[in-house]
């Protein structure tokens, strides 16, 4: 069993399993808890070869209520770089799911006119997936671009609470969905393109390591799967 931050914390929620244990039970290909309290290593709970690097973040901030801390991203130049050759080789652009817990720094973030990325996995302009705060006011979106075919789900959002965002994509089912707090939102997208290539940029809290579109607020618990999780699984992983 992978050893991870928080594994020693007493389970506090249903089933006797911690949030980390429940995520790992679904067999993700990567999982960055982001619960480090010091240092620049963002540990992957699945494979150490997929450890990332924190740049500029403030660690040890209050998390989502599962006993773990999380980083604060300052909205100027912070990010967590999780691009590795191992991840690039395991990422499945045709079938997948990504979850990220987020909270914005303050109400002004929703109207700051800035695009801000929670996570982006990027091959090129024709093949990438992301979950973002939009540059237009009070709006979030997730985008799945495969084979040059762009599918976007955009919804209004002004929450100041912790929220669980998720995106699922399936070429087999021909569906791309955005979830917020375990519930599908917006219009399920169909007629997806065919993903080509392996990621060259995988970043939490920005769209690149420039960094562009830096997140302003807190991010936690970023698992990634090579299958589209079922709605019931997405609902379950909303419980911290």
């Amino acid at each position: 069993m992978p050893l991870g931050i928080g594994m020693g914390i007493s389970p506090v929620f249903g089933g006797g399993l911690s949030y980390i244990q429940r995520v790992l039970a679904t067999d993700p290909i990567a999982y960055w808890v982001l619960g480090e309290r010091a240092g620049n290593v963002a540990r992957c709970q699945v494979l150490a070869a997929q450890n990332g690097q924190h740049v500029g973040v403030t660690l040890g901030q209050p998390g989502i209520g599962d006993g773990n801390t999380c980083p604060y991203y300052d909205g100027t130049n912070d990010y967590t770089n999780v691009q590795t050759a191992t991840l690039a080789g395991r990422f499945n652009g045709a079938e997948g799911t990504v979850i990220v817990w987020m909270r914005v720094a303050n109400a002004g973030v929703w109207t700051d006119g800035q695009g801000r990325e929670m996570i982006r996995v990027f091959v090129n302009a024709n093949n990438h997936v992301r979950i973002s705060k939009a540059a237009i006011n009070n709006s979030v979106f997730s985008q799945y671009v495969a084979g040059g075919v762009t599918k976007t789900v955009q919804v209004a959002n002004t929450s100041l609470a912790n929220q669980c965002f998720g995106a699922t994509w399936s070429s087999a089912a021909d569906e791309f969905r955005l979830y917020i707090d375990g519930v599908p939102v917006g219009v399920t997208q169909t007629i997806l393109g065919a993903w080509v290539g392996v990621p060259v940029v995988s970043v939490i809290g920005a769209s690149s390591i420039v960094p562009a579109a830096p997140w302003h607020g807190w991010l936690a618990h970023v698992p990634l799967w090579n299958r589209a999780l079922a709605p019931a699984e997405m609902a379950d992983l909303y419980r911290p």
Partner: protein
């Protein structure tokens, strides 16, 4: 020590001079620290001619004289021959000193000390960050790609 943000904009440094300056600035701050926020990290403008830096800086390294000394070393001249002018701009709520460094009638470098207008009192990290974020919002088209 001061945890804050400053930005630079190249006005007339050549590529080698700019690279030398950037290397010197990236070396600022502690060599190691348990908080990534305290280590020097940066962001580059889309055109590559400006950058923002943040770290837990030695105060003496983030001053007008310190930048003159860096430029003097780059030019191979005495730093006291480098002049400067100051313009105060408030991006959010605190004045930011924007200093233009020049020599022999040519402007070479502009530096913005976010939230700092001189004197002993430096802004808090969050205050400096607020000014930096407001600056980025004001000049978003220069720092962000269209798809962000």
């Amino acid at each position: 020590m001061w945890h804050g943000y400053f930005g630079i904009e190249n006005l007339n440094l050549n590529d080698n001079q700019r690279a030398e300056l950037v290397a010197a600035l990236r070396a600022l701050g502690p060599a190691s620290h348990p908080q990534p926020a305290c280590l020097c990290h940066w962001r580059t403008r889309l055109d590559g001619q400006a950058a923002l830096f943040e770290a837990l800086f030695n105060k003496d390294s983030i001053s007008i004289d310190a930048f003159k000394q860096r430029l003097g070393a780059i030019f191979g001249i005495s730093w006291v021959t480098i002049g400067h002018s100051v313009n105060m701009v408030t991006f959010d709520s605190l004045p930011t000193a924007i200093v233009t460094f020049s020599r022999s009638g040519t402007d070479y470098l502009r530096v913005a000390f976010f939230g700092y207008s001189g004197g002993e009192d430096r802004p808090a990290w969050a205050e400096s960050g607020d000014e930096c974020r407001a600056y980025l919002a004001l000049y978003a088209s220069q720092w962000e790609t269209a798809d962000a």
